[in-house]
Subunit: 325 residues, 2 copies
Amino acid sequence: MKLATLKNGTRDGQLIVVRRDGMRYVSGAEVAPTLQAVLDDWDNKAPQLEEVSKRLNSGEIEGTEIDFNELLSPLPRAYEWVDGSAFLNHVRLVRKARNAEPPKTLETDPLVYQGGSGVFLAPRDDIPLADEKWGCDFEAEICVYLGDTPQGVKEAEAEKHIRLFTICNDVSLRGLIPPELAKGFGFFTSKPATAFAPFAVTPDELGDAWKDGRLHLYMRSTYNGELVGKVHAGPEMHFSFPRLIEHVCQTRSMTAGTILGSGTISNEDRSAGISCLAERRMIEIIDEGAAKTPFMKPGDTIQIEMFDEAEENLFGTIQQKVIKK
Amino acid sequence: MKLATLKNGTRDGQLIVVRRDGMRYVSGAEVAPTLQAVLDDWDNKAPQLEEVSKRLNSGEIEGTEIDFNELLSPLPRAYEWVDGSAFLNHVRLVRKARNAEPPKTLETDPLVYQGGSGVFLAPRDDIPLADEKWGCDFEAEICVYLGDTPQGVKEAEAEKHIRLFTICNDVSLRGLIPPELAKGFGFFTSKPATAFAPFAVTPDELGDAWKDGRLHLYMRSTYNGELVGKVHAGPEMHFSFPRLIEHVCQTRSMTAGTILGSGTISNEDRSAGISCLAERRMIEIIDEGAAKTPFMKPGDTIQIEMFDEAEENLFGTIQQKVIKK
């Protein structure tokens, strides 16, 4: 099933169930007020929502047409947003861009950072930017919503804790990253609010594309109207989602509704294009000695989406414009 | 007023209002189900709770005796847990302990990290430790609960967004910190679940001790029954809470219920003692060439509390024991 969250004037919005084609919806209010409430009581609520979903997909319920401007991110705020960096081609390129060495454990120990999760942007929200020198960039990623996941869970047991999938734009401020990481405590001001796609979908909606703990589909990024990336999210994800879950649960458990990201989708094959501007800039430096592509400035637009094997827009489109804050 | 959260079988517990002496309480259910619900609608809910608090403190409501084992942390889970490191003596000592330089901007740019906020320990919960080699340590800190705080807020305007105060034990795994920070993305596995004190109190309960954006009281840490620290939390807090708020809101806004920490309370005067074992170990290295004090192992106990000028236990006591996970 596909779930989403409608604006209703509250902080957490109204849970809705979305038709498979992403065109129409029906309220999920009779089952739960919010997506967090569903994740908090998944075993009880999910089967009830599946029933609603079946009736909507069969045409028994007509539903209401979706207005994408009326959707929040599936969880408008979450208890944790933990973001991996599992595509090593991305790690190598962006570290090169800031003259930093990849960690020695790059291939054996997953990189993750703890992101801010109190305020997420909606899928069509503008990206407020106070200072162009901050070097605003998009990052197209896959993410999973977890159920309760115990400390010490192992990779082989981790997949069953994945409840939902979506994609996100993990906005980054490249200019703030080097001084911030130099302080030693990780990102903070260099990671402003993240935006998520309109729909979160259960694993059964992904068919054969979900295998080996990876989502074998292409991430498409369209920047200022130009398709700049059609990047395969499967084979080059060095650490699978279950492996990332084992890593993040090493010393503590995760609560229902924790969001875990893949990191920027990136392929070694340059013809695949990019899922963030920093990679294009690094390639320009390698090939031409200097970066030509500027970071995002007010007026620039970014569109991120993922189509399934039947060419259906799986999660709906993230469509954002940078504005002067 | 003093607020707390009673275990009731739900994830977020039941809001209660606590008598000033910390001995008796009355349910806050008629005003709001949970502390998060209060923070989400502070201007409306806080005055109603103040009324309940007045009636409880005057004796008009008798209330029920508190059983500290029945309390959760005031917010059992939060949308963000952002922890500063504003006591520079602590930063200098722990960096020395791991042969790392303090950042060049130590005195001008606050250090903060984004902590995990999905699962907090209760004030009397055991600390589960899977491996003694991880180097388990306590860290006694002050924290504030914020209301909605906008991006770009300045220090001079920031204090009004502070809703509540408490203290916490920001448990750290010292053995995991150096390899994790070497990866460049901050702590993650090296920061397991944090425990908070029983009570969260409004600023007016602090009297003159709350001034200059700092809480001028002593943090007492009792380790295995021995008072190891009576450390002043005021003058040596290099960055005030309003300054920390300005810093963390530079590029994004904070939602109601965000918790912001001071970092480990630390004084240059050694006779004040410690608020974490890492400092004692570093002092032993400086004085005697080697650390003698081991990190925490199963069976070790830690008690953290803060008394006001009238010698009242302001937030109640954090009282935890390490157990083998």
